[in-house]
Amino acid sequence: MMSPQKKRRTRKPETAAPPDPIPTRFTTRRLLALLAAVATLGVAGVLVIRKPVAGPPTPLPPARATFRDTAIAAGDFAGTEACGRCHAPQVAAWKGSTHARAGGVPAAVKIIASFNGAPIRFRDAQVIPLARDGRFSFTVRQAGLPDQVIPVDGVIGGGHMEGGGTQGFVTALDDGTYRFVPFDFSRHDGKWFCNTLGRTNRGWVPISDSLPIAACVDWPPVRVLGDESRFSNCMSCHGSQIQVALDTTAARYRTSFTSLGINCESCHGPGKRHIALVQDPAAVASGNIGMTALATYGKDSSLGVCWQCHALKDRLQPGFVSGKPLAAYYSLRTPQLGDQAYLPDGRVRTFAYQQGHWYSDCYVNGGMTCTSCHDPHSQGYRDVNGTPLPGRFDDRQCTSCHASKAVNSTAHTHHTPSSAGSRCTSCHMPYLQEPELGNAIRFARSDHAIPIPRPVFDSTSGVTSACKGCHADRSETALETQLSAWYGTIKPHARAIDGLLRARATSDRAAAARLVLVPDEKHTAVQFDGMAYFLERFLDADMESIERDVVSRLERIASHGDIDVRALALASLHFSRGNDRDVRGILIRALDGAGNEESYLRARWGMILGYLADKQRNGGNPSAAITIYRKALEVEPSAAPLHLNLGLAFAQTGDAASAIAEYRRSLELDARQPLALVNLGIALDDGGRAEEAIDAYRRALRMNPRDPLANFNLGNVYLKATDLANAATYYERAIASDPSIALAHLYLARIRATQGDLPAALTQVRLTLQFDPSNEEATALREQLTRVTAEAR
């Protein structure tokens, strides 16, 4: 199964070319408006903290202990065959599962896509998928360019999923990475398609002769297998024990994986030590056999095993592999910031349906885990008591808990018994197309928020209600009327969901706080979402005043049991009133009391502030961003990515000296950052220090000779120095690694034109326009070159 790119943020270094500074937009007018609103509330009797902040704030305490990583190496994993020697029944069950059949090398898995030589036609390219002698490849043919043969080195997915299964392919590149090829196949639609999110943003679309190949975000192949900060992706889960990292000594990436299916150790953790221990009588007698029994896990721990893959995540640090503590590496709730991936009731707004479970009544008020319905080995279906069930629509998944509904099911369903409409899943877990993907390729997934159909509400939320999904001919109002006739008053939304919906409809901060900042709320997912919404909508950096009730609520939530919720409360306080003496006391006490969770807490808190800073920087407000990055660095002073991003913000304000200092600080903390060196080079070059810039770029290239941005910017230095030969060399190297750098093509076109090689210039300018169709300079150059070429004839 191929998935779209899930968004991760903040701790990854970003652009190499600093954008032009844009004037600060946080104006006096906005501040006055804010104060006016607060003053009105004050009259109404709301206590407002309006203390002036004097003097430097008390520093936050230094970190007492840093996270101690669990050392797990690729060699610690034993492989499924070894597991099967003792656990044969489980491995036999697993062999038929979709986990086992999730992917592999082409020779070992079933390929559902057609590799019959019939071309896949783009508007400006033909791609020929071909199988020969057991080898599979794509040949990409574009006018003016030599054929490019892309061998298939891995297959991802088998089109297994009920609501539309897909199959994708990876190819091994010389730089040590495996990259996703942008030609995916949909079993349901029987079509080749590609993902346009990030380019033309039309979701997943069938490949056709009206689609340019550059509309596919993975053209050229940039998304790597594994979780590497440089490349946005979620592909550490489409395989087992996938690890990828830049080896700066070998000057290439190292990618390792056990298989492209999902194996035993993906859930159970590394097995080699376990195998050794069970052969050691002393270890067996001690009970420590290097493995924990997942069957003994409580509700959230059990879910945590599945969340390793089946959840949106923000990365806190690199290097996760099964067996390590997930919470040290990822935050599972923070993706809701900004993206709002889930609607207030947990329905998927973007992508990733499984996490809807967190919003379901079955989780919030019940004991349901993934394994309540899914057998973890066979991935067949079962009831809550572990009795196997024949299919995914079997009502006993639900009625083994909701026995009351099974007594006289027709009285509840109002549909003919054994009709499709009478199934529990038809109304409560309908298949909904993942919204971010568009509607051209079917990728519908069962709604794991398990809601009650509310035709009118669902429609206003942008969701097709279960009723409407079947009865498309009836209006939402008619459907709602029918439901009322059958059921009377419909069960209201949970308090937290209702609170968030109402908070979204008010502009009154104090009222919103009462609705969404609820310390004893037990619906943790919506509590986090409500807090995230409140932070982004109602709080600003270093506010002049704020209602005392807001601070009080956040202070109480800051001792919540969930680490993400706690971090969000603290980040909100720090962001909005962090220089207030009383608030600072709250922050200090929270860190003092964090105990062995301190590093987890700081990582999340710093990341949230870093995200807020990124938002300002990307919104053209680098001065505000600098303030917030400094707050983040109060919490995480040794976070190399924060220093890098602070440097980018300084560069955006034109303060090259501070930018250079921050880049250097970032490199002191983590020397293995080619991108930090590229940004350092850009800042040095902007300051007229070309030789030092060249040195920075060359240092980056020593770590990774293929780094496209280091090559590109080195080309820029030589171009400025009118050393066309060297400039062309580095631009070509940049393009070889990443042909989507439009400017590299454009500058190379200019060089070729200057050198009199008009056909080469024309090819390069066409490639510029392939990736940047609105580039006016390229358009003008193309016309000029076309005219000159015609005249020459």
Partner: protein, 233 residues
């Protein structure tokens, strides 16, 4: 007399049974797994004691191996009413592998204390008519929830979570009849409440569960929330 009859049934059904051929002793890892499931996921310790933890309704499990055969323990867990008709112990559905693991664990527990009287499980109260909610409540619920539904039955103090107070209007008027039905049927764990509350769905009939709900409603003198009163199940 009943005891003799029980033994006869056992001989017929379980006398020659082996537990998946697993005759070797449980490893300490296996024992720890079984104990964790017993303490945290199954309702057994709602009524039985294991090493001083748990309820006082049923016999102590710590020393059950000294009183009962492996086959008896297995049969009792699999279908208590069949082994001891009228027993206060409900049948808990669970995967066979889990049941076997628990049986082996109990069968291999080292003796830690002198075995108490080898008493067979006894019914909590006389059998009740299917529609007599009050009598059913006394028989199945009162030992934990209290005769008046105040959560103060004689067994309540041995439980880690105070039993629900069925006499509390505030607590009960937010719970639908269907939720009460499902909890009685499926046990506390499915409702994210105490796993020590057993599932009675394999023991009580639909009319018996409904009679219990009606009795609970009389104890709280309340109804479920308005949205739940559509009369459908």
């Amino acid at each position: 007399m009943r005891h003799l009859l029980t033994a006869g049934v056992l001989a017929l059904s379980f006398g020659t049974r082996e537990l998946d051929g697993q005759n070797s002793a449980l490893t300490p890892f296996g024992a720890a797994k079984a104990e964790s499931i017993l303490r945290h996921q199954l309702p057994c310790l709602g009524c039985h004691t294991l090493q001083n933890e748990g309820g006082r309704i049923g016999p102590d499990l710590t020393s059950v191996r000294e009183r009962r055969s492996t086959a008896y323990i297995a049969a009792m867990i699999a279908d208590p009413q069949r082994v001891v008709p009228g027993s206060a112990m409900p049948r808990m559905p669970m995967p066979e592998a889990t049941r076997d693991l628990i049986v082996r664990f109990l069968d291999e527990l080292p003796a830690t204390a002198p075995a108490p009287d080898a008493a067979a499980p006894t019914p909590a109260a006389p059998a009740a008519a299917a529609t007599d909610g009050s009598a059913l409540y006394a028989r199945w619920c009162a030992s934990c929830h209290g005769a008046g539904g105040k959560g103060d039955g004689p067994n309540a103090s041995f439980l880690p979570v105070k039993p629900a107070q069925h006499a509390s209007r505030q607590a009960m008027e937010v719970r639908s009849d269907d939720a009460l039905y499902d909890t009685i049927h499926g046990g506390g764990a499915i409702m994210n409440r105490s796993a020590r509350m057993p599932a009675f769905g394999a023991t009580l009939t639909d009319p018996e569960i409904r009679a219990l709900i009606a009795h609970i409603r009389s104890l709280c003198n309340c109804r479920g929330p308005e949205w739940s009163r559509d009369g459908t199940r």
